[in-house]
Amino acid sequence: MKTVRTKNRIREGSPAVTAILYLLTILVCLVTVYPMYYVLILSISAPEYAAGMDVYLFPKGFSLDAYKMLVGDMEMWRAYANTILYTVATTALMLVTCVLVAYPLTYKRLMGRKYVNMFLLIPMYFSGGMIPAFLLITKLGLYGSPLSQIIPACFSIWNIILMKAFFSSIPEGLREAAKIDGGGVVQILTRVYLPVSKPILAVIAVYTIVGRWNSWFDALVYLPRTDWQPLQLFLRRILVENTRQVTEILNPEMAAEMVRKQLSGAQLKYAMIIFTSLPVLFTYPFFQKYFVKGVMLGSLKE
């Protein structure tokens, strides 16, 4: 037998280990944030320093020339407007479609509820894949149309299931009471269910907004011409496809202006990254709680 401990002192971690753990946390934090910070300070540095790319801690000099050039680029604004259009339309429709299916499923007396559930579950595990979806879009005449960015994306079975789970948590007594008061199916939805559903609507809206804002692949496949392309595809042409230089995308006067101001392509790219990520970067700390909530709701369903 081991000797019995004489002192039953509560063991606290040693300060040295605590310090190391905190340092490690700060390091992780730096690794996460620094790339974006680097992009930011480079984009606002004076062009002569930015061209050398050796700006590491603080901006060297200060110049908003890169941004000034950006705001004159009509193609970017067009892409920005497209993205806003797609995001707003998809999100609004997403909320409607979720409610329309989730609400009837809360009725115990809905005939064939089992089959409806099956109908919803099958597409969660099987899909036709990229090619049949592409051919379908073509057949429907949506290829090249802005509607290809809205209609196929305006519903989500996953969101319907989240919504249904939330609706099911609303006591049925409420509905029965409203029914006795003479409320019809639609009135009960708008007067009883929707007013208490703001949290879940917010979660779904936030997920849809961010997803749509950042999506690009379906636009790459369905939108061949640049005039309807969203912001992310515009960015892809400039940031990723190295076949074209920034100067080729800009119109000739702007390209000349760029040379005159000694702006480097990299600096302009970085300014573009900051400029297009701003809406998300500024707002995500405020709606991150909805994201956390969404993860929780999703995990309950698993």
């Binding site: 299916v101 009837p104 099958i122 595809l233």
Partner: protein, 308 residues
């Protein structure tokens, strides 16, 4: 078997049902078209489909399994499987463990303000679009880019790493981990906070150090979530993140970067070989589904949780 007593189907109930179905109808139509439509469209994997021609009828050239055969015997099949397994394997090794390690680390941070700040920062990459992330990475690993310069400190050449096939798996994995670890940790962090704090107190009284507390209390407390996530990750091992690959790869790195999604995009969407790529996609998702199915079975047996 005793029959459940059914409430009579009154006209009122029928009217209610009709109204409810009318509400659902628009979305049902969307689901039929956009979810079930492509599933039936998969018949083209067994034909020689030409754009504009019908899916059924006399004009259809039925090919049987010839496209599948060509895909499996083709010279790219081995490459696609290897790349998928390597990239997914790396992602499983690092992308799966990083959120857990981060959750354990952040649990040690007891200053609430600081903890919140670090968490918020860790989510940031998740909100940045894949295109922007890829753009940043490509510029950092370019000749003279930030990361390339940093690597020259260790004697590595100043070159455009995007064109180096050997570097691709690392670039892909680091980017994936960077983008996803914070968001992936949400579930673990919340599971850790719901562990009964008195367990830690009694463990400390018994003289357990931090490592022991972590090993004997925290990890067992989140082991179910880890198990489910792990099994699902194994099930989804064939579903690589082809979005990011499509942005990062170049013809110089196809050898190590090409996966089914990118292959389908190049040959199908860009090359117009619809039937062949549909067959290739169908084959891979059939394997993927089988894996998910097995993983789910295992999960159900081991943890009692599963997708269905």
């Amino acid at each position: 078997m005793a029959k459940k007593k059914k409430r009579p189907t009154t006209p009122a109930v029928i009217r209610e049902n009709i109204q409810l179905y009318l509400l659902m109808l628009p979305v049902f139509i969307l689901i039929v078209i956009f979810c079930y439509g492509p599933m039936f469209g998969l018949v083209i994997a067994f034909q020689d489909y030409m754009p504009g021609s019908p899916f059924f009828g006399e004009s259809v050239d039925w090919m049987g399994l010839r496209h599948f055969q060509r895909f499996i015997q083709g010279k790219y099949f081995g490459r696609l499987i290897t790349n998928t397994l390597v990239l997914s394997g790396l992602n499983l090794l690092f992308g799966f463990t990083a959120p857990i390690l981060f959750a354990l680390l952040i649990d040690q941070v007891k200053r609430i303000r600081f903890k919140k700040l670090v968490q918020t920062a860790s989510y940031m990459p998740y909100f940045i679009s894949t295109v922007v992330v890829a753009g940043m990475v490509l510029s950092f690993i370019d000749k003279g880019g930030m990361v390339t310069r940093f690597l020259t400190l260790f004697g590595l050449p100043n070159q455009n790493w995007r064109e180096q096939a050997s570097a691709f798996p690392a670039i892909y994995t680091v980017t994936n981990v960077w983008k996803g670890f914070g968001f992936g940790s949400i579930l673990y962090i919340s599971a850790i906070t719901s562990i009964d704090q008195s367990q830690y107190e009694s463990a400390r009284i018994d003289g357990a150090n931090r490592g022991q507390q972590c090993w004997y209390i925290t990890l067992p407390g989140i082991k179910n979530i880890i198990a489910i996530n792990l099994i699902m990750a194994i099930g989804g091992i064939l579903g690589t993140n082809s979005d990011l690959i499509l942005l990062l790869y170049t013809p110089a790195t196809y050898d190590v970067a090409d996966v089914i999604g990118t292959y389908t995009y190049r040959l199908g969407i860009q090359g117009g070989q619809y039937s062949y790529t549909a067959a290739a996609g169908l084959f891979m998702s059939a394997i993927g589904f089988t894996l998910t199915y097995i993983a789910n079975k295992v999960s159900n047996r081991m943890t009692g949780y599963g997708l269905w």
